[in-house]
Symmetry: C2
Subunit: 408 residues, 2 copies
């Protein structure tokens, strides 16, 4: 399938992708779809009648976020995708009005694509949980007793989710130095990343309503890359007994384009076998995981990038359907735009660990960069770039980049 828009070789934004984002046009946040190095301005496209054959209120594209569009439902998402695929591959109305509708993507300023009501972070990679367990509880079973029975998760801070490219200040806070008798205050000395992906709720539920596992995927609109920045020293001191708080809530970065579940469909794959067998409400059929290549680059100020991690979303022990079903089994309601992150995605090999905590084994082993310098954790002015893409049968779709720089 070829588009009349030039799509560079190996672009994340091929005709098979068509991810949704929100960019600034004439100072106004505007919903768009990425294709190659361009964006389809959905509001302008709607105004000239590109979507007139679909039964939905296309003024949802006047909104500052995608929430209203997402609320139109799965059939509408699919119809818009069909129309855009046709319009981008043949010379119809979109082509006719292309000078008004198409916008340069590379220079575009992106903003948060959805209004996030609540954000949940899971802990669903068995390699990550095992690594952390080995470091924090060297004498016990690295996995806690509940870990193989339920997708452990906790609530995070929605207000501090930022779009790729937003610099974040190194957080200050309390830490307890080794062998000290009282805590000290100052900037975090163990700034870390967590390589994650997040899914976005596409269909709300009512309080008291549980989502059966075979319906869970119908409630998911799409996915983004998620960097769950973590200040390990703050986290270590504060997290008992109620979990991570200031060690995490100073910022989380997402990639700007939401890749839809429909686009991801060809990349389904098997999950890791779960042992022991999970309770019936978490048992599923079919392939519920996805083969998504992940990589993390660290770039010191004015220097070249070093790839510090290569992982894959398929390493997840708990899949998204299980996470969402578990999250609502007690009646907890979810809303369109809610974000649910995977937890750090680590593979078996050292080069596939999704956090510097694991890569440097709690600061004991140095990570060597291309410039010869080393890191155990993130230094000021380091930039972290996470990339994610799927490739199969010569077709590629990707998530673009999730970029963040830590400043003093």
């Amino acid at each position: 399938m070829n588009s009349w828009i030039n799509v560079p070789q190996n672009s994340d934004f091929s005709i098979y992708n068509l991810p949704y984002g929100v960019f600034i046009r004439d100072e106004k946040p505007t919903p768009g779809v990425a294709i190659g190095d361009s964006i389809v301005d959905l509001n302008t496209a709607a105004k000239v009648g590109v979507f007139s054959e679909i039964h939905f209120d296309d003024s949802v594209f006047e909104s500052d976020t995608l929430n209203d569009f997402i609320a139109c439902g799965k059939e509408t998402w699919s119809s818009v995708r069909k129309v855009l695929t046709r319009e981008l591959t043949s010379e119809n109305k979109l082509y006719e009005f292309r000078e008004k509708i198409m916008v340069d993507r590379v220079g575009a300023q992106m903003v948060l694509p959805v209004k996030v009501g609540d954000y949940t972070d899971f802990y669903s990679s068995i390699e990550h949980a095992t690594n952390v367990g080995k470091m924090f509880r060297p004498n016990g079973d690295p996995l806690l007793p509940n870990w193989r029975h339920l997708p452990v998760g906790y609530h995070g801070r929605a207000s501090s989710i930022v779009i790729s490219g937003t610099p974040l200040k190194r957080p200050q806070g309390q830490t307890m130095p080794p062998n000290a008798d009282k805590p000290v205050f100052g900037p975090s000395k163990r700034m870390d990343i967590e390589l994650e992906m997040a899914f976005i709720i596409g269909k709300s539920t009512k309080l008291g309503e549980a989502i059966p596992i075979e319906e869970a995927e119908d409630h998911i609109f799409g996915k983004v890359i998620f960097n769950d920045w973590s200040a390990r020293d703050l986290q270590k001191w504060e997290y008992v007994p109620l979990g991570p708080f200031l060690g995490k809530n100073f910022g989380s970065t997402i990639s700007p384009w939401i890749v839809t579940m429909e686009a991801l469909e060809p990349y389904r794959c098997e999950s890791i076998k779960q042992e022991p067998e999970v309770l019936p409400y978490l048992q599923y059929s079919g392939n519920k995981n996805y083969d998504i290549n992940l990589e993390v680059g660290l770039t010191p100020e004015n220097d070249e990038e070093t790839t510090i991690c290569e992982s894959n979303f398929k390493y997840m022990y708990w899949n998204m359907a299980q996470q969402l079903t578990h999250h609502t089994v007690n009646g907890c309601n979810v809303n369109i735009g809610d974000m649910m992150a995977s937890g750090t995605i680590s593979g078996k090999e050292k080069g596939s660990y999704g956090s510097m905590l694991e890569l440097s084994w709690s600061g004991k082993e140095e990570i060597t960069l291309k410039n010869g310098k080393t890191r155990t954790f993130i230094e000021d002015n380091d930039t972290i770039t996470i990339r994610a893409y799927c490739e199969k049968d010569g077709k590629r779709i990707g998530f673009g980049e999730c970029v963040g720089k830590i400043i003093a």
Copy 2:
């Protein structure tokens, strides 16, 4: 001070209170202020010019929530309070248009007064933390090492905060029975309450900005009663290592009227002395706690109410200013409407414990009700009513009731 509106003796809603809520009028959520058994419809009052002397856009009262009004700032809150106090105690414009403006409070349907962006729950009562520590870690120090150094807190679920009167279904979920080798699924058998109060953010901050402790109170609009329902058996199995999740997020109930910090001003009192001394960013001057009487009643279906707990907000070890300063010290941003709950407020005596977990000492001691029956945790169709009020120099202000019923 007397109002031309009848205010019953001992009403929570005296002329000294004037709390804000949102009620349904002609099917539309409408901001109002409670006085006695009546409500001042703020939108109608604005339309006839009651607030015309104040420099603010009084169309904020057309909104479905109080967020827009709160965003007008502390001076506006104070001016509106002054005008309402004058108008309710003398026969001016509000009196002239009273038939249009005044609405019956007792029969009014209330809705959530604010749109809550993020909700945080603290753990700031030393008696509660000590009691829980004794039960869960009988052989160690009941307080964990960090507890006296920082106000421990965690993120909760904003979507499931409901208004007083909303019934909640008993949550289902995984629990690990004693001596079992695998978890089971079913309805919670240890349904509990947590007697809390929550404050509502009145002034937003930007990401990266910390609130110095002496400015913290300027960021607080007012307070409500907060029932942090807890399924103890779900919580116990799931909460390690990332904190409470499904044991809490099936619902939290708030009282409908936000009592402003200005109304609470006469009830400031000293806090518990903090030892050891806290880090400088948490040191404060002046009285930063509040003397607010709290009580919890349990009413079985079609039966009379038994008071199961009498406590006081002044028992808090960490005050609201410390909580908010700590929450933002790492740069975490807060938004108008965000809610921050205290954690269970327990006193020293058994009758002042703010949860059934403590009152029944983890189910070992029965709580006897007026009807002769007993409880260790909440049974189906039990209603919990929490009340809160301040009294001093013959003046009383109160929060009304925070009511919730657990259904099967």
